[in-house]
């Protein structure tokens, strides 16, 4: 009895691991196929432009407003700590470095995953549930090239731009609170920021992060949608999985990228 239940549990564990690895392999093959068949999406660029509209333009409001508030909170909190050391002029450095290096790409990525990624998954999943994908296959139209690739590239193009706008809005928010509300000297705020933020080490690395997050989130979103069980419940599960998996992927990738980028040299 005991042995049988233990064996049962082991078998279940084994099959879970195997199916996850199988899914990872399938997802990688899917990505490869997707990139190989991106010709249509790039040649008929209008398809991609429409997806940039859905993934990027419609996410603008939430990204800009969140960025503004994150920057404002950073300035308030940072000022409280910095003024104890008499270093409140470094507020600009604190706000800019935290936004450009970390918060910009990461928070914009999380918002992008929940705002645009879930929509992509739901849309593709519903297309599958209503057999539009199968209909395309019947008409000898590759659904990956026609439906998935434009959404993928639309997301990949939108994400770095959204992250940059998030950081810019955040720094503006930090300026509003720090300089206009609290009264930190505007000259010190900007000049210390410019002296401390490096174009290659900070800004370019932030952009690289946002590109990586964009690829990861959109890949997960289109794959979950394409792989969804074609029922109402299956689509809802796939949407949930997209948000959970992309958020975890963003945070894990962020750790790896930060470790690679900012701890390599000692300057």
């Amino acid at each position: 009895m005991e042995v049988a239940s233990l064996r049962n549990r082991l078998e279940r564990l084994g099959s879970t691991v195997t199916s996850q690895v199988w899914r990872l392999g399938y997802a990688s093959r899917f990505l490869f196929h997707l990139v190989m068949h991106s010709g249509t999406a790039l040649r008929r660029f209008r398809l991609t432009v429409a997806e940039i509209y859905f993934a990027g333009v419609l996410s603008l409001i939430i990204i800009l407003v969140s960025g503004l508030f994150v920057g404002m909170v950073l300035a308030l909190q940072g000022y409280e700590t910095l003024q104890r050391f008499g270093a409140s002029e470094s507020l600009g450095v604190l706000v800019a470095l935290s936004l450009v290096r970390e918060l910009g790409p990461v928070v914009a990525g999380l918002l992008f995953a929940s705002r645009a990624g879930s929509a992509i998954t739901a849309e593709i999943g519903l297309m599958k549930a209503t057999e539009q994908i199968s209909a395309m296959e019947m008409m000898a139209v590759d659904p990956i090239a026609r439906v998935v690739a434009p959404r993928f590239w639309g997301g990949v193009i939108s994400m770095p731009l959204l992250a940059a706008l998030f950081s810019a809005a955040g720094i503006f928010g930090g300026y509003l609170v720090g300089v206009q509300l609290i009264g930190v000297d505007a000259g010190a705020f900007w000049s210390q920021m410019q002296a401390a933020v490096d174009l290659r080490n900070d800004i370019l690395n932030g952009v690289i992060k946002s590109v990586v997050f964009g690829v990861a989130v959109t890949w997960i979103s289109v794959f979950e949608g394409y792989d969804a069980v074609p029922t109402a419940e299956g689509v809802s599960r796939a949407t949930t999985r997209t948000v959970v998996t992309s958020s975890l992927a963003i945070l894990a990738l962020d750790f790896v990228l930060t470790a690679l980028m900012f701890t390599g040299g000692n300057h």
């Binding site: 990027g56 333009v57 193009i157 731009l161 940059a164 410019q194 800004i203 932030g206």
Partner: protein, 157 residues
């Protein structure tokens, strides 16, 4: 929404995104202060560089005239060799003094150049012979305490 409206909004979005990147690069980062001018490199040996960092500023009379390019340790003289890239627009006499100074009490450390009186100017690859090391707080305190101790002994004689 019609197709052309979508195109318009995507155009605005992409333009705004690049404007954001440009804002980060120009206003937040130091792209604007990157001089495209020609630079020339000089180096100096210091007994102690304190907290000087690569890319730290090189200032003369408070004006940034260059950046620290490289910091190495000399195995023979047991000193630090600091290479600096100076803007070719600023010429200094050959007997210029290089000091490691601190901006403010807790500020970053930088190399301060004090021009000498020599008629010959520094060239690319030259070495600044007159240097002054960073002030190490511990040494300063121990010196002060030592002086105090010797002062208080004297009246007892």
């Amino acid at each position: 929404m019609s197709r052309s409206m979508i195109d318009l909004w995507v155009g605005i979005f992409v333009a705004a995104g690049f404007a954001g990147l440009l804002f980060l690069a120009l206003k937040v980062g130091n792209l604007a202060s990157f001089s495209t001018n020609e630079m020339y490199s000089v180096h100096a040996k210091f007994a102690n560089i304190g907290g000087l960092k690569v890319r730290g500023p090189v200032k003369s009379a408070g004006v940034v005239v260059g950046r620290v390019a490289d910091i190495r340790f000399d195995n023979e003289s047991y000193e630090a060799i600091v290479s600096m890239n100076l803007d070719a627009g600023y010429q200094f006499p050959r007997d210029t003094t290089a000091k490691i100074l601190t901006s403010g009490i807790l500020g970053e450390q930088y190399v301060g150049l004090e021009a000498g009186g020599d008629g010959v100017m520094l060239k690319h690859g030259d070495r600044l012979r007159l240097t002054q090391s960073a002030v190490v707080l511990e040494n300063l305190i121990s010196q002060f305490l030592f002086n105090k101790a010797s002062e208080s002994k004297e009246p007892a004689k």
